[in-house]
């Protein structure tokens, strides 16, 4: 059995820091309870520790740095869900996990349990640099320049409790990829980094000002190539410029994307580059010992050489076709475990399932698990010879739904079932769509299709980059759902266009069904995806399906 930890292990420094922060938060809670902190003052402090107050309860958002977990951590999450919550956790589009029912008085104990396995909830909220995300296939993808988690880990350490950048105009999200195929949605982050090679040297393409929310924008390249050693100096320059110049008069205009938009990329680049020259002069290089330590933490595991003897059953074959991706070693695969069984809540995993995933990871995936921004769980290093055993174990736990990338693999934010900011529910819409397309053969016939649902304009469900996006709003006192079409979160980044007027809660699923029937009618053949058909024909046939001829003429 493989039990060697290959991911970056938290050091004594991390450990002591976390304990310190928990003690601090414990005292902050005590001060809130004795009245020396008002709710107004306490709120940013609890948010800094990942604790939100939602509709029905508090919600604790726990960081999963770059989406990487080991079996021990997954088991501890299962334990926390059972002891302090209702036996499940919710994986989010930012590779975090949320617990929906903690009590304020239990939170320090939950944080202690997390610290026991090197985890925390720091900077998962508030106007600071948030949990850094990375390609969920990092370290396993065949097409990467190097493991992007090395960069993500450097940024995690640099940004943790950063004295200058913890009270920014607004939240700040950084994503890292190392492949040309962008699985980390880097063009929709405040900063997106893509590791690339230029003249034999590895560095970064730096993208800024992307984002979803009220004003979706595709990020712009501010630097074509940044040498690796200049990373932190460049980040400090961007953040300094943003902290001083970002708008603070209007919450909805405070993200860096608005600064880029209003200042213009050229002007802003000049300011960033000028500050970068200073930072480069003042900022020492990374400590080489520290850097070597981080790099060592992401060395590839000792892959086994063994023959693949068993042939796959038809069910396994179907699962492998849909839920596995090529690994950098031909005899291995990356397995994506869907959390989207028909009728389930996207991203929700029970304690029992978490334990099964932990066991499988320990036995068959070099003790590694990943959480994807698509709210699925990834087993990054599975030997082809172990695929039948992995499939069987997943199936027994209700985790072998073969729908990754298909119509029922829906992203949905918690929406108004939980979230205090939501304007409509998302989860029931996702559940109903999945039920409407429950037949897996029909799903395979429809082919790759990304449906993404947000319960408010903040777009946690990434609806702008869904091939079909659904945005839940309130209209005249009831829930109303707007459809956007043609969004794409990959390197071919595209913001979806609004199809037309919204649909009531009981109209939205039939509307999606009409859209998909229209696609099936119009596609050239099975190999043309929904997105390709949409790009070829434009919105007209889709709008006709949604609204009928009458609307077509009116619009």
């Amino acid at each position: 059995m493989e039990s060697k930890l290959i991911m970056y292990e938290y050091t004594d420094f991390d450990e002591a820091f976390l304990r310190d922060r928990i003690t601090e938060f414990r005292s902050q809670i005590a001060r809130r309870l004795d009245g020396s902190l008002t709710e107004e003052e306490f709120k940013p402090l609890r948010l800094m520790n990942g604790l939100y107050l939602q509709l029905h309860a508090y919600m604790l958002r726990v960081a999963i740095p770059y989406g990487t977990l080991n079996s021990r951590q997954m088991r501890q999450l299962a334990e926390i869900a059972e002891r302090f919550d209702k036996g499940y956790g919710h994986f989010t589009t930012r590779q975090n996990i949320q617990f929906n029912w903690p009590k304020l008085s239990d939170v320090p104990d939950i944080l202690t349990a997390l610290a026991d396995v090197g985890m925390h909830a720091i900077q998962t909220s508030g106007n600071c640099i948030r949990n850094v995300t990375a390609d969920h296939f990092a370290g396993a993808a065949a097409d990467e320049v190097e493991d992007p988690r090395i960069t993500a880990e450097i940024i995690r350490q640099w940004s943790t409790d950063h004295p200058e950048f913890t009270y920014l105009p607004r939240k700040f999200k950084v994503a890292v990829t190392a492949s040309d195929t962008d699985r980390a949605v880097i063009r929709f982050h405040d900063i997106g980094l893509r590791l690339r090679r230029q003249d034999g040297e590895i560095g970064y393409e730096v993208v800024i000002g992307g984002g979803l929310g009220r004003t979706p924008m595709i990020g712009k390249v501010v630097r074509e190539f940044l040498p690796k050693r200049d990373l932190l100096a460049y980040l400090e320059a961007i953040l300094r410029t943003y902290n001083l110049s970002g708008r603070r008069d209007n919450k909805f205009k405070a993200r860096i994307k608005i600064l880029v938009h209003e200042t213009g990329l050229e002007d802003l680049r000049t300011r960033i580059e000028a500050n970068f020259v200073q930072q480069k002069r003042l900022l020492p290089d990374l400590d080489p010992v520290k850097l070597a330590q981080i790099e060592a933490g992401f060395r590839p595991p000792a892959f086994a050489d063994k023959p693949v003897t068993r042939t796959l059953s038809p069910a396994m074959r179907a699962f492998a076709d849909i839920n596995t991706a090529p690994h950098k070693r031909a005899d291995h695969v990356i397995v994506t475990v869907s959390t989207k069984a028909v009728g389930s809540t996207p991203g929700d995993v029970t304690s029992a399932q978490m334990r099964v995933l932990a066991d499988i990871a320990l036995r068959y995936s070099h003790d590694e698990l990943r959480i994807s921004h698509e709210q699925n769980v990834v087993l990054p290093h599975v030997h082809r010879a172990d695929l039948p055993a992995v499939y069987d174990a997943l199936r027994d736990a209700g985790l072998a739904t073969a729908n990754v990338g298909l119509v029922s693999d829906i992203i949905a934010c918690p929406g108004m079932d939980y979230c205090a900011l939501a304007t409509a529910r998302s989860i029931p819409v996702a559940q109903d769509i999945a039920r409407a397309f429950a037949d897996i053969d029909a799903q395979r016939d429809i082919g790759p299709l990304k449906i993404k649902i947000s319960g408010c304009i903040n777009a946690c469900g990434h609806h702008h980059v869904g091939h079909i996006g659904i945005l839940g709003l309130e209209k005249s006192g009831v829930e109303s759902y707007q459809i956007t079409l043609g969004g794409d979160g990959t390197e071919a980044a595209e913001i979806g266009s609004r199809a037309g007027p919204g649909f009531a809660h009981d109209e939205i699923v039939p509307a999606i069904e009409r859209l998909i029937v229209a696609y099936l009618d119009h596609r050239l053949d099975r190999s043309e995806t929904f997105l390709e058909t949409y790009r070829r024909l434009g919105a007209a046939p889709m709008k006709a399906a949604l609204y009928g001829g009458a609307h077509d003429k009116a619009a």
Binding site: F17, S27, E41, L45, N127, P163, T166, N243
Partner: protein, 134 residues
């Protein structure tokens, strides 16, 4: 009335007899009130004459003062740097690390956040510095 606090706790205000001047009316005075919306580069030519710079914090969520403080230190300002206004106990660590020498708070806040709270602010961990060489 106000209270001055630094890493050691509540301290006497040694600068109470230094009247502050805005940038516009600075002249050859040595104490400057630098508002958060000012471009710190403007201060460059005057750094030599200044022995005190006070940066007001309008609200605890406005972090511009932290960047201003670091910028001034990077520009070579070695005089006394003070944060004034609504700064939470939990922001004190950030304030000191960005180059502030002390923090001036209103007395009602000092009453709600007694000296012990300020003294217990942990200074132990500094991720950013730990990551850098030297």
């Amino acid at each position: 009335m106000s209270t001055v606090v630094d890493k050691t706790g509540f301290v006497p205000d040694l600068w109470q007899d230094s009247p502050l001047h805005t940038y516009e009316e600075l002249g050859d005075a040595s104490a400057l009130l630098l508002t958060a919306d000012m471009d710190p580069e403007l201060i460059g030519p005057h750094l030599e004459q200044l022995s005190l710079i006070v940066i007001p914090f309008g609200s605890s969520t406005d972090g511009r003062g932290f960047s201003l403080a670091r910028t001034l230190r990077e520009m070579g300002f070695s005089g006394h740097l003070r944060a004034r206004g609504h700064i939470l106990v939990d922001q004190a660590r950030a304030a000191y690390r960005c180059g502030f020498d002390d923090i001036e708070i209103e007395d009602p806040q000092a009453a709600r956040n007694p000296e012990a709270q300020w003294r217990s602010v942990s200074q132990r961990f500094d991720y950013r510095n730990d990551l850098l060489a030297g």
